[in-house]
């Protein structure tokens, strides 16, 4: 056996003896570290999951970025290709969006004596497959698309239009704009309390044909994940890439999301820090006893030629092993705990976040090393001072 292998073997031998010298104390330290790791892992998992959950909750409110034609002319439209270019430039996996064309048409039914003028909205919620905007309209159009593929165009009618025309699903509606006429079958009536109540929603291509604006759109709605700063960066980048359009960030949503997340995050971070500090104090209390027990051992080790560094290496490695063991056990338990807590707080179990596991284990190791402070202090004392009982 070469020199370093022999010494490594001796190092492991001493370490094993150190760890199992007092099994009761080992259990107490492991328990403290595991409990600390469990609670901190649970809180960290909730914190990470809260961001995702809030993003998802806020996304359901609708878009946070609108792309429109220049404000100089309200009749102006955009080339539909722009929406595809935007998606090419964006992170297609995260940005969701929809395009719409607004036109005014005479809407009539066989039950109404006179036609009424209504806004007809052509809607395409599938700029990129699988990345539809999350909104009630988008949800409706998701089903609408599959119905449309079977034959005559379908439409969704706002509650007020439905009332004036005395018509409901599944009747046929006639839409006229100039000399262009089309019909659609009503599949649903919606009441949102907003402008949708006065609109007739059809597929984008139907509206484009009615308005005689093939390949044109009035609006691109985007849902961009991230905080207000990320949103601002994204909109600035759009402005520079597409100087001919107007980009309007709807900041109140992202700011509200950031505010709520910041509060939740701050609370959870403070709680985690407090738990880790308490764990460190518990470990430190146990280590103070160990330091008292090992006072003579440290004095003797130094007296027979042990440097502070080598003695400290033993104690720190012991602390790291304890931290690792406590962290691995506790963090696993904590992530499971967070799923239960998540259910209690958000009504849905928090998804286990893998990143939380190594972070919690690393934090527990750091806590164990900090908790070993009494031992670190002891190894720097002169042996004679220890033997005199002054350390």
């Amino acid at each position: 056996m070469n020199k370093s292998a022999a010494n490594r073997s001796m190092f492991r031998r001493i370490l094993r003896r150190l760890l199992f010298a007092n099994r009761g104390r080992l259990f107490v330290i492991l328990l403290a570290l595991s409990a600390g790791a469990a609670v901190s892992a649970a809180l960290l998992n909730l914190q990470v999951d809260a961001k995702r959950r809030l993003s998802s909750e806020f996304r359901s409110f609708g878009p946070n970025v609108l792309v429109t034609p220049p404000a100089t002319n309200s009749a102006e439209t955009l080339d539909e290709k722009i929406s595809r270019q935007i998606f090419v430039l964006s992170d297609a996996g995260k940005v969701r969006g929809a395009t719409s064309l607004y036109t005014v048409a005479e809407v009539s039914s066989k039950y109404a004596t006179h036609p009424v003028a209504a806004v007809v909205v052509g809607f395409n919620g599938f700029m990129v497959p699988g990345n539809s905007l999350e909104s009630p309209i988008a949800s409706l159009f998701h089903s609408l698309d599959s119905i449309d593929s079977e034959g005559e165009p379908s439409c969704v009618v706002g509650a007020k239009v439905s009332s004036v025309l005395k018509i409901d699903a599944p009747n046929v509606l006639t839409l006229r704009s100039g000399d262009r006429v089309t019909t659609c079958t009503i599949v649903a009536t919606i009441r949102t309390g907003g402008p949708e109540d006065n609109q007739v929603q059809v597929r984008l291509d139907v509206a484009q044909r009615l308005a005689n604006l093939p390949g044109r759109i009035s609006l691109i709605e985007l849902t961009v994940p991230g905080d207000p700063k990320q949103l601002l960066r994204y909109t600035n980048s759009l402005r520079s890439q597409f100087p001919g359009v107007e980009v309007h960030p709807l900041r109140q949503f992202s700011e509200a999301q950031a505010k709520i997340y910041s509060r939740i995050s701050g609370l959870l971070t403070a709680a985690t820090a407090l738990i880790l500090a308490l764990t460190a104090l518990c470990v430190m209390a146990a280590m103070t006893n160990i330091a008292a027990e090992r006072r003579n051992d440290v004095g003797m080790m130094k007296a027979i030629g042990g440097s502070a560094r080598r003695v400290l290496d033993l104690f720190l490695t012991e602390a790291v092993i304890l931290g690792l063991a406590g962290g691995l056990i506790g963090a696993a338990a904590g992530i499971a705990l967070s799923m239960v807590l998540g259910k209690a707080v958000f009504g849905v179990a928090a998804a286990p976040r893998l990143i939380v596991y190594p972070i919690s284990v690393a934090l527990t190791v750091i806590v164990a090393i900090l908790g070993a402070y009494p031992l670190r202090r002891l190894v720097n004392v002169r042996p004679a001072t220890i033997f005199r009982g002054e350390a």
């Binding site: 020199k3 003579n296 004095g299 007296a303 027979i304 042990g306 042996p383 004679a384």
Partner: protein, 269 residues
């Protein structure tokens, strides 16, 4: 209990009178705040000497041995061991000095309680350079503990623990053995065993400085030094059966056959 001889008896050597001193203490002072533990102690130690360091409690014996072993620092004065000024060594050099040149044997044994007898000896090897289990086993066999290798200190008698401590002190072949009342906690039988080991070490040419209160043990030493209140009050190679007398200044030295080196010039008739 049988112990193997620690050395080949033929290799026994007596200190060479003219050889340069192995240890030189010059005006060594140690103060703890206002308390002066050592008040300017000076003497030399020749290679191979066995010195019994005596004196009442609080006379500075342990302080002196701690400074000599690099466990404590002197307030002033100089300690030279094999030409190396110990009082000027930095922390890392002191660690090396303790590991390579000094073998400590304490009254309280100071064995690591969670390491076996064998591991306690190997610990000294580990801090010195490299562990060698067979060498450590051999060292324990020499002090008669071949059948106690895997015993924890708590399972050993006081005498056995002290023999482990001696094996640990010797494993790195130190130039100077410092023993602080090594038999202070032992019964008569174990005391005899331990003193026999020291006798063999002395015959093997090891330099030993042993703190003791026991005149019978001190009688084994080749020289006796006494401290009182931090001052050297006796330094003699006399046969201790005849209690040597101190020479007060200006008084004739008694022609008892004693050869005190302390202030001998002024004591000369």
């Amino acid at each position: 209990m049988t112990t193997q001889p620690l050395v080949n008896p033929a290799a026994s050597l007596a200190p060479a009178p003219q050889s340069p001193p192995q240890v030189v203490l010059e005006n060594l002072v140690k103060e703890y705040g206002t308390l002066r533990a050592l008040g300017g102690v000076s003497f030399d130690i020749q290679p191979g000497e066995w010195i019994a360091l005596m004196g009442p409690s609080g006379s500075g014996k342990t302080t002196l041995i701690n400074i000599l072993g690099g466990l404590d620092t002197a307030t002033s004065g100089r300690v030279t061991v094999n030409g190396e000024d110990v009082t000027r060594l930095g922390e890392s050099d002191l660690v090396r000095y303790r590991a390579e040149k000094i073998g400590f044997v304490f009254q309280q044994f100071h064995l690591v309680p969670y390491l076996t007898a064998l591991e306690n000896v190997m610990l000294a090897q580990y801090f010195h350079s490299v562990t060698d289990e067979s060498q450590a086993v051999e060292a324990l066999k020499r002090v008669g503990l071949a059948d106690r290798l895997d015993h924890l200190p708590a399972k050993l008698s006081g005498g056995e623990q002290q023999r482990v401590a001696i094996a640990r002190a010797l494993i790195n072949q130190p130039k100077l053995i410092l023993a602080d009342e090594p038999t202070g906690n032992l019964d008569e039988a174990n005391e005899g065993i331990v003193i026999n080991i020291f006798r063999e070490l002395h015959h093997a040419g090891h330099t030993i400085l042993m703190v003791t209160h026991d005149v019978d043990i001190a009688r084994n030493a080749s020289r006796r030094i006494e401290l009182t209140h931090g001052h050297l009050t006796l330094d003699t190679t006399c046969n201790f059966l005849e209690q040597p007398k101190l020479c007060p200044h200006g008084k004739p030295f008694p022609s008892s056959g004693c050869c005190s080196t302390l202030d001998s010039k002024s004591c000369t008739p």
